[in-house]
């Protein structure tokens, strides 16, 4: 029963939906953006941590809930609905799973309780150029220290702990490490990021090498796909409401067949993508080593669907959709970043083909 939620998961999902509706509606992102905070909303992150979300993956002995990937994915989906700006993906999904999968007992003991408590924000530093290419790295490792640069690290401007991929190896780097410098990036989605440079920076290795890198990246992709599903669903609902209320030519525009068919197409894509995202999350909870095709399926489909829906959201709103005052643009902007992060649809099509043997 891949798609049937447990009672615990249903409760988590409902609680998340209520929380974002009351505490983190889209206006909260807008307020943060207008105050030029570039993704910083520490109060929101504290509240999320109090809900227990930072430690959803963290085992109970380290102060977490140990609720699994489906549970975290459902929360990410809900936070995606309102574009809630938080380090939930980079910390609760990426940072926690890097430590759970590749951390020593000491590393886990030091970091996991802080992650679960919301005290430590993590970020994944992987790419070094303009495009996602995790295998390519010029990072130099020598005597437990790393040198090199990382590009567009999501939440890299606010992270206390960096998970750094360097070719075939993975490292932990403390946010206050000597020799680490950050260039903050002001980003189109108002979430912020950073370019990082390392000059002989102390780095603790994680266990697992390239396999760990791929395992962590696949969790990042699936978690991001869940967030994107929520964004796409919300942008679709926003559009649907407009189609039912906006009148032109003496009738609601939702009565026009040209728009009806495009809405039905979006609905279909959303339903198909939802199945892929939930199945990928369930595959993570099952364990197993077949995650690559699931992650690429979920990320590519989520990217294509969100692209379609966010663009149609602007188009079907007409002129109002082009204004800054309307939320359509916020969805379009976040969509563009999320589509590219950890590999776009083209990257994952290529990877999916390889896993299928062509």
């Amino acid at each position: 029963m891949t798609f049937t939620l447990s009672e615990e998961q249903s409760l988590l999902k409902d609680a998340a939906r209520d929380f974002v509706r009351e505490q983190a509606p889209v206006t909260r992102l807008r307020t943060m953006r207008d105050a030029k905070k570039n993704g910083r909303d520490p109060q929101l992150w504290r509240e999320m941590a109090q809900m227990g979300w930072a430690g959803i993956l963290v085992p109970e002995e380290h102060g977490g809930a140990g609720l699994g990937y489906v549970g975290l994915g459902l929360v990410l989906e809900e936070t995606g609905r309102t574009l809630a700006a938080s380090p939930l993906l980079s910390t609760a999904m990426i940072g926690a799973s890097a430590l759970i999968l590749g951390g020593s007992a000491a590393q886990q003991g030091e970091w996991l309780p802080k992650i679960a408590a919301g005290e430590t924000i993590a970020a994944l530093a992987v790419d070094e150029g303009a495009h996602h290419a995790p295998e390519k790295s010029a990072l130099k490792v020598s005597g437990g220290k790393i040198s090199g640069g990382k590009a567009y690290v999501a939440d890299g401007h606010i992270a206390d702990l960096l998970v750094v991929a360097g070719g075939e190896a993975m490292f932990l780097v403390r946010g206050d490490a000597k020799g680490l410098s950050r260039r903050e990036l002001v980003t189109v989605d108002s979430r912020g990021a950073a370019d990082l440079s390392f000059e002989n920076v102390e780095a603790e290795p994680l266990k697992g090498g390239a396999a760990l890198r791929d395992a962590v990246l696949d969790r990042a992709r699936i978690g991001l796909a869940a967030e994107m599903l929520g964004q796409a669903q919300a942008a679709f609902e926003l559009t649907g409401e407009y189609l039912k209320t906006r009148k032109q030519f003496g009738q609601v525009i939702g009565g026009f067949q040209a728009l009806q068919h495009r809405a039905a197409k979006m609905f279909t894509e959303l339903e198909l993508t939802r199945s892929c995202v939930y199945a990928a999350l369930a595959a993570l909870d099952r364990g197993g080593d077949d995650i690559a095709p699931w992650a690429s399926l979920a990320k590519a489909r989520a990217g294509e669907t969100l692209h379609l829906v966010s663009n149609e959201c602007v188009q079907m709103h007409g002129g109002i959709g082009m204004t800054d005052a309307h939320d359509a643009g916020l969805y379009l902007k976040r969509a563009r970043v999320a589509e590219g992060l950890y590999g776009g649809a083209a990257y994952h099509r290529d990877r999916y083909a390889r896993t299928l043997g062509f």
Partner: protein
């Protein structure tokens, strides 16, 4: 519960081991191997007949229908076990049947006891082959505009009119048919009636399609007398039954791929080749095939999700139109990619220069063009999704 299912699995496995002929444990090579049953069906292999008889006697051609009407009487969970056991040994479907896919479910819901007892067991055993009398020359997408006249003549109904796109009418024994019983109203003047194709005044004429095959017919009814007991549901109450049946039909067409069991990746590997890195040499085609494979996976997962939601008590009937559109698009995309991947090997029409698989790709591609037309066009089904699922209407 699980224990009972384990026992059922063991019994099922043993029964299949003893009763499924070895020659029936391989994929169907072509449409010619499909077993449709009926009074005049010619079995290509004696084993196919044996397999149908055994499965029919067990009721497993219609596993979840009530045992009282010849069905298997299985729960959904037991049926899932049966299907997985059939799949495990690669068993061929014992029967392809419009009676099972479309008519049976609505008979169970709408027919009286006498009608159920008369028709359901024969459907299960594959003794009667049914065809669907829906579309007419003047009533395609606007199906409710149908005009085939059905008059009350006291002790019988008198039918006059013409149907078109009647699948396999020339080989069918009976027809479930939509007829007009009131001309003063549209949807409320339609009735659902069962007609024996052997009746005097019934004529069929096959229509040759672009694929060269003739799966569809024109069907003519001239002063055909039908017993009063053959109407299903109430007089002028046929539209509701017609729509319910379409939901079953749409679900089935959407899962019904053409082009045999051929895989587009195999065809591409064979005709395009791989480069040094092991990737398909045509990168553009490779990307499109990968995208298609994701679509295929997403579709299969969504079917599975809908089944789980239905089991959990959710109402998923409104999803039939979505599945119909997506399934038609999926199969057409697959056929287009296979033709493209096959290159000039897909340009053949006949003769020994082409393998039967190659000719099958070409014929299947042409056949697939009907997927977005039959059972309600893609455009009509998108209307259904927009109006019934999304609540988009002309006026709010």
């Amino acid at each position: 519960m699980t224990e009972a299912l384990d026992t059922f699995r063991a019994e099922t496995r043993a029964w299949l081991e003893a009763n499924c002929p070895p020659s029936m444990r391989s994929p169907l090579a072509s449409e010619e191997d499909y077993v449709w049953g009926g009074r005049n069906f010619v079995f290509k292999q004696p084993d196919a007949k044996l397999w149908l008889e055994r499965m029919g006697a067990k009721g497993w051609t219609a596993p979840t229908w009530p045992a009282a009407f010849g069905g298997g009487g299985l729960s959904n969970a037991e049926n899932a076990v049966l299907q997985s056991e059939l799949k495990r040994i690669n068993a061929r479907p014992a029967l392809f049947s419009f009676g099972i896919w479309m008519l049976g479910p609505v008979l169970i819901e709408y027919a009286n006891e006498e009608q159920k007892k008369e028709h359901l067991p024969k459907i299960v055993r594959g003794e009667i082959r049914w065809c669907q009398g829906y579309s007419e020359p003047g009533a395609g997408s606007d199906l409710a505009g149908l005009a085939t006249k059905c008059e009350d003549r006291g002790d019988h109904w008198l039918i006059n009119g013409q149907k078109v796109w009647t699948s396999y009418a020339d080989q069918a024994d009976w027809c479930f048919c939509l007829v007009r019983t009131d001309t003063s109203v549209k949807h409320e003047g339609i009735s659902f009636i069962l007609i024996d194709m052997a009746s005097e005044g019934v004529q069929t004429r096959p229509i040759k399609l672009i694929s060269g095959a003739s799966p569809f017919c024109e069907t003519f009814f001239t002063d055909v007398r039908v017993p009063k007991g053959n109407m299903v549901g109430r007089l002028n109450g046929g539209w509701e039954i017609a729509k319910r049946l379409l939901q079953y039909e749409r679900t089935n067409i959407s899962g019904f791929g053409s082009g045999g069991g051929l895989d587009v990746v195999d065809i591409a590997k064979h005709n395009v080749g791989l480069d040094d890195s092991g990737a398909l040499a045509d990168r553009d085609l490779r990307a499109r095939i990968a995208q298609h494979k994701m679509f295929e996976r997403a579709y299969a997962l969504t079917t599975q999700r809908a089944q789980e939601e239905a089991k959990a008590g959710g109402n998923v009937s409104h999803m039939a139109s979505m599945f119909k559109v997506a399934g038609a698009t999926l199969n057409q995309e697959r056929c287009e990619l296979m033709v493209e991947a096959a290159g000039n090997r897909a340009f053949g029409w006949a003769g020994e220069a082409y393998t039967s698989e190659e000719l099958g790709v070409t014929r299947g591609w042409l056949r697939s063009k009907g997927n977005s037309i039959e059972g309600g066009t893609t455009e009509v089904n998108l209307n259904v999704v927009a109006k019934r699922v999304l609540g988009l209407r002309d006026t709010q």
